[in-house]
């Protein structure tokens, strides 16, 4: 089972599933078959293992959409999303010739009435249990969730999109299931933007659905608001974080190394291919992922020493000390060995990529992003910082990222300047990489470059914090989280949608400076949660902030999530694709040669 923090999302989800699905099926002692669709497969895979299921008397796991062998002696547990496709597949199992003895049906969310009636009328007599357990999000990490919907980006931000409203509704449903799983009824707030309304729309949807959910919910007797707050914000509020080169282990690895489905593939010195899953089962990953690569690099000599020590070959004569060493080779140690090798490789890989881009690029990026150089002197002419990057033969994507940072630091540039930059980077045919950012509400072209109006909000003063020179930028979301926890979020910028519980309202205002005293004021906030949802995708650096803030403010747990997780490359590709018109479907008509 996934190790990690005791109150991680995965543990909570697994517990919920155990309490509902598994407890129901324990009542009859026979073995059961579990049938999953694509989403629930991912969901279960992320929070438990086959051995956990086997311990609960589930013998095999099947795919709902594949043709399955009938097993009439066993009961089947169906865990699926309430969509037409799933319900049709389920009905198909029982309508003509029943495949199983009986069915226990569990939906991840509320089932629309028409589908429910369909199920009822066509195979109702085989159903022993039908419940709606509200879990339709993916617990990615202990404090990170996703809605498993990368398409949402296009759906919400593309000017050609037809289904923005329905995507927002689906996201709202998923957020509500998150709150339900965490047993929270949070106060909802959103970031007010002058030109984008998505946060407001989503916030309203979530608020309404939350109210409806807690009315319909079986287990909760009229639930009042809990000590939790949900903040909804759009990607455009911080365009810098997703394209900056980050130097913490996880963010760097996903940016520079090709990691698909959280699996890192590499070759050992002897040529054998290995793959490693980077998730919370790997304790070493959990410890290293948010550290700066320099610190990870410091751990490596230690790891190397340990590995070489254990590689001693046992000789024929079995002395007791050799015995002890062989004991060390037992799988628990071998597992650790594998993990160490993986991270050695990965860190090496990261550093290899980094060495190509080293000082100039990252330094320039940091200067542009933060607006000041290492010594704190303000950058007066961003073009001077940008120029060396453009002249050096970096990859196109790296140059695009630098140009974007330049534009963001100026809050938009003139058309003329932009054309010159585009020419320089040689992306005349691919201007969308830069221009489409306007769909996210980020200004790219402003007529007057000397705009006195700075849209940028003032950042927290972090000059007291120790930082690496190439990691001076802090994602804006960290400021938001810290302000929210300290109850300092401006109500004009972050309007409340409905009543928030007292502790968050500002009525029980607590001075930030007194946080360190273990006083009664802290007690009010023990176990409170801050949930932050970013429309349009979340980055690894922002995920890291959630952990950092939780660590610093022990009384509040911060959970972040989005429709999906971004890497800089994937974001740039998505932005470029925004202006593509939807693909026309071609139907081939066959002519019958009779």
């Amino acid at each position: 089972m996934a190790a990690g923090s005791d109150h991680g999302l995965k543990k909570i989800v697994w517990k919920r599933i155990k309490d509902t699905i598994i407890t129901d099926c324990r009542k009859s002692d026979i073995w059961k078959i579990l049938i999953l669709d694509h989403f629930t497969t991912k969901l279960l895979s992320s929070c438990c293992k086959m051995s956990d299921l086997m311990a609960e008397k589930i013998t095999i796991v099947e795919d709902l959409f594949k043709k399955r062998e009938p097993v009439l002696e066993m009961k089947a547990i169906y865990f699926m999303t309430p969509t037409l496709k799933c319900v049709e597949a389920f009905i198909g199992d029982f309508e003509k010739k029943p495949k199983y003895k009986a069915a226990y049906v569990y939906f991840t969310d509320y089932c629309p009435d028409d589908l429910f009636n369909k199920m009822k009328s066509r195979c109702g007599k085989f159903i022993r249990v039908v419940k709606e357990i509200n879990i339709s999000f993916l617990p990615q990490e202990a404090q990170v969730f996703t809605c498993n919907n990368p398409e949402a980006f296009r759906s919400i931000y593309s000017p050609h999109s037809q289904d923005k409203r329905s995507t927002l509704e689906t996201l709202a449903d998923q957020i509500v299931t998150l709150c339900a799983t965490l047993d929270e009824y949070p106060g909802v707030r959103y970031k007010k933007e002058s030109n984008m309304e998505n946060a407001k729309t989503l916030a309203e949807l979530v608020d309404n659905k939350l109210a409806k959910h807690y009315e319909l919910d079986d287990s909760a007797k009229k639930k009042g608001k809990t000590q939790a707050q949900l903040l909804i914000v759009e990607r455009g509020f911080d365009p810098v974080s997703p394209i900056l080169h980050e130097l913490t282990y996880q963010a760097m690895a996903y940016d520079l190394v090709d990691i698909k489905d959280d699996t890192y593939r590499y070759k050992l010195k002897d040529g054998s291919e290995k793959q490693a899953l980077l998730n919370e089962d790997d304790m070493l990953w959990v410890n290293l992922r948010h550290k700066h690569i320099a610190e990870v690099g410091g751990e490596i000599p230690k790891l190397v020493k340990e590995i070489s020590a254990s590689k001693q070959q046992p000789d024929e004569k079995i002395t007791i000390s050799k015995l002890a060493q062989m004991m060390k080779k037992m799988p628990s140690f071998r597992k650790q060995l594998n993990e160490k090798t993986t991270h050695l490789q990965l860190a090496e890989d990261c550093m290899k990529h980094f060495a190509n881009n080293v000082e100039k690029l990252c330094k320039a990026e940091q200067d542009l992003a933060v607006g000041a150089d290492v010594d704190g002197a303000k950058v007066k002419d961003p073009m001077r910082t940008l120029l060396p990057v453009l002249l050096h033969p970096y990859t196109t994507y790296d140059k695009i990222r630098a140009v974007l940072l330049y534009i963001f630091s100026l809050n938009g540039t003139t058309d003329e300047n932009l054309s010159k930059l585009i020419q320089h980077v040689k992306i005349e045919d691919e201007r969308e990489f830069i221009l489409n950012w306007k769909e996210l509400g980020v200004s790219i072209i402003t007529p007057n470059q000397m705009s006195l109006f700075s849209r940028k909000s003032t950042r927290r003063d972090r000059s007291q914090e120790e930082k690496y020179n190439l990691s001076r930028w802090t994602p804006v979301i960290k400021d938001v989280m810290e302000d929210a926890v300290e109850n300092k979020l401006d109500t004009k910028e972050w309007p409340h949608l409905s009543e928030s519980p007292a502790a968050w309202n500002g009525s029980g205002a607590v001075s930030a400076r007194q946080k360190h005293k273990a006083s009664a004021q802290d007690e009010r906030r023990t176990g409170s949660r801050l949930i932050v949802f970013v429309i349009g995708g979340i980055t690894y650096s922002e995920m890291r902030c959630a952990y950092e803030v939780t660590q610093a403010v022990k009384s509040c747990e911060v959970i972040v999530g989005s429709s999906h997780i971004l890497t800089p490359t994937s974001l740039l590709d998505n932005i470029k694709a925004l202006s593509k018109a939807p693909m026309e479907t071609f139907t081939i008509e066959e002519r019958n040669n009779a």
């Binding site: 293992k49 319909l216 919910d217 007791i320 015995l323 004991m327």
Partner: protein
């Protein structure tokens, strides 16, 4: 969470007539239904029985390991009847070994059976997959139990070493852990080769203590050596299986569309052939009068 069983049952009680037409259809379909019966029912029964027995055995093994752990601590704390405590520890160790080997043998048999089923029914058939997952699950559980044992013995080892160190300090001599390791390795109590004269009762009792600890350590190593073979095999087995077998997504991904057995299809084909209208006509026109 919402339980909708009530809604379902309400509907069913309201409309009994609708249920009947579907029942009428089923007698016609009864014959083909037979053909699709689950092939491996008996085998699965056996496998599940075996699995349950093995789980019981493993529970007993775990209890033995816990007892060994308790016994070990007793050895450290009580000074009386060390020999009897030692005897018990060794007996437990032998017990664990015997049980472990029995379970391992059964696991091997189960593994073979599972492979046979795979060949008989195909790797993607329900029976084969059920057998295989039971195998994997039981192997892991057994491996866990053995790791528990290893942990208990390692703990005991460390405790003994600490005791030796402390006793040596009482005697006025500092002993480092590496020296103790050496002592264990060579099997000799080199500590005392230098001290020819041991004066005082405290020194002498400390000496006896250390000797006892030393003996205990040697016996512990002996126990571990006995069981080493088994442990190793287990460990390799688990590693061979790899972690992907425990991953749900990988398991679901491996399932294949079910293809009904050839026999069923042939029977259907024969029936269709018999019912072939052309043939029927043919038979009518030219009755076979033999």
């Amino acid at each position: 969470m919402r339980d909708r069983l009530g809604d379902l049952q309400l509907f069913l009680s309201e409309s009994p007539e609708e249920a009947r037409p579907s029942e009428e259809q089923s007698p016609e379909e009864a014959q083909p239904l037979e053909l699709y019966m689950f092939q491996g029912e008996d085998e699965m029964e056996q496998i599940y029985k075996e699995a349950q027995l093995m789980q019981k055995e493993m529970l007993m093994l775990k209890l033995d390991v816990k007892r060994l752990g308790k016994q070990n601590t007793r050895f450290l704390t009580s000074v009386r009847r060390i020999s009897s405590i030692k005897r018990d520890s060794n007996a437990l160790g032998r017990d664990i070994k015997a049980r472990g080997e029995a379970i391992y043998a059964r696991l091997e048999r189960l593994g073979k059976r599972s492979k046979e089923l795979e060949e008989e029914h195909g790797a993607a058939s329900a029976v084969a997959r059920m057998a295989r997952s039971q195998c994997v699950y039981l192997t892991r559980a057994f491996h866990e139990a053995m790791c528990e044992y290893n942990r208990a013995e390692m703990l005991q080892r460390e405790n003994c070493k600490t005791r030796i160190q402390r006793q040596a300090e009482i005697m006025g001599r500092e002993v480092s852990r590496e020296q103790i390791e050496e002592m264990i390795e060579t099997g000799k109590c080199s500590l005392f080769s230098d001290n020819l004269l041991l004066e005082g009762r405290t020194a002498r009792s400390a000496l006896t203590e250390i000797e006892n600890r030393h003996k205990e350590l040697l016996e512990l190593e002996g126990r571990i050596r006995d069981i080493r073979e088994l442990f190793f095999q287990m460990a390799l087995l688990v590693e061979e299986q790899g972690c992907m077998l425990d991953n749900i997504q990988a398991n679901v991904g491996q399932t294949r569309d079910y293809v009904a057995k050839a026999s069923a299809q042939i029977r259907q084909a024969v029936r269709y052939k018999k019912n072939n209208p052309c043939k029927k006509l043919f038979c009518c026109c030219f009755p076979c009068c033999r």
